[in-house]
Subunit: 209 residues, 2 copies
């Protein structure tokens, strides 16, 4: 049976089947690309998940197994609403891995999802129910779980970074150079400039700064 | 001295000072809001970090201490280029925590950054150099590290999710309902529709799907 370290559940915060699915997806990507976990800024992941739907927990598993973390800027969402991701590693090309419909269908009738659809949060679901569905993920073969497509020509160019920063001349806080704007001749941060960020994640309704 | 569990470094992939700064930031936010680590979908974090600059590692520390993870959809980037974040917890309001300029300035001359600015990745920096700068973070007081602003009236409305999904009538893959589009009368996924996603993260130059 596939093993997942306890700390990955500790990081994630609860026991559910999708963190392990993502952990296995990341592990398979590394095997197929013949690479190890990324200590620094090696692997980049383009996750096809979006917002407003379940199963995003997969992404915490991907980060835990591959080291391609959100903090290190190595995982992005493509907002396609699919349980799939493309993994790219320098000089190794890419690989797309998607959860098989058949495996999703085989899990769907499980008691775990009956609780979830009633609005019960994962940590409140009985432990034996959670462990049972996790074991199904851990016992499945890679072939039962995933469709795999090698993408040897997949191109990805990581953004070149800069250490330059300056204090905003209005609020006084440090700002990295990319995000400085000019207002009345002064170098200011985006909130002090009154401008919108040029880059945006998804805008959640209801967020008022 | 503040303690950080080994698994948080294991998750992050390397030892650096900014993962611990984020871990402490998240810990302080939980203390001030009088809440515990989020097992499910409680705390939401709006990070002021962007892309193309260092110190994003902070966000891995925030996720590790608070449980507000990327996979669970609980952390977003605001793309302001600042080492700061706002934490919101249901019925508790918000808090903004920013790294003090003075603390950033006190770390800046450290040998760790001389290596980093030469392009040397964190895992390649000598262990004693890394441990020394981490200890500076762990030994500092919250007052030395952070500016804190309570935001009792901060409003945030988490997106309401849906479990509904359908197979794309072209590629056959499952798609969550929010991301289905219509093409020639068929329900299809965004890539099969030829449309652009309505929601986007930051577009990296060089990414060709």
């Amino acid at each position: 049976m596939f093993q997942i370290p306890d700390w990955a559940f500790e990081f994630h915060g609860h026991k559910c089947p999708f963190m392990p699915i993502g952990y296995r997806m990341g592990t398979l990507a590394m095997q197929k690309l013949r690479v190890n976990k990324s200590p620094n800024h090696e692997m980049h992941v383009l996750s096809e998940m979006g917002v407003g739907h379940p199963q995003g927990c997969m992404q915490d598993g991907i980060m835990a197994s591959t080291g391609a973390t959100f903090g290190k800027g190595l995982i992005e969402k493509l907002y396609y609403g699919k349980v799939a991701a493309t993994f790219w590693y320098p000089e190794k090309g890419g690989i797309r891995i998607a959860l098989k419909n058949e495996f999703a269908d085989s899990l769907a009738p499980h008691e775990f999802f009956k609780f979830r659809k009633k609005g019960i949060q994962p940590s409140e679901i009985p432990e034996d129910v959670r462990q049972d569905i996790i074991n199904r993920v851990l016992k499945a073969t890679d072939e039962e779980l995933f469709n795999v497509k090698m993408l040897p020509d997949f191109k990805y160019t990581p953004l070149k970074g800069s250490f330059n920063k300056t204090k905003c001349e209005v609020c006084g806080e440090y700002v990295f150079e990319r995000y400085l704007r000019i207002k009345d001749g002064k170098k200011v941060c985006i909130p002090c400039s009154g401008q919108e960020p040029a880059e945006k994640g998804f805008y959640y309704p209801g967020f008022e700064n």
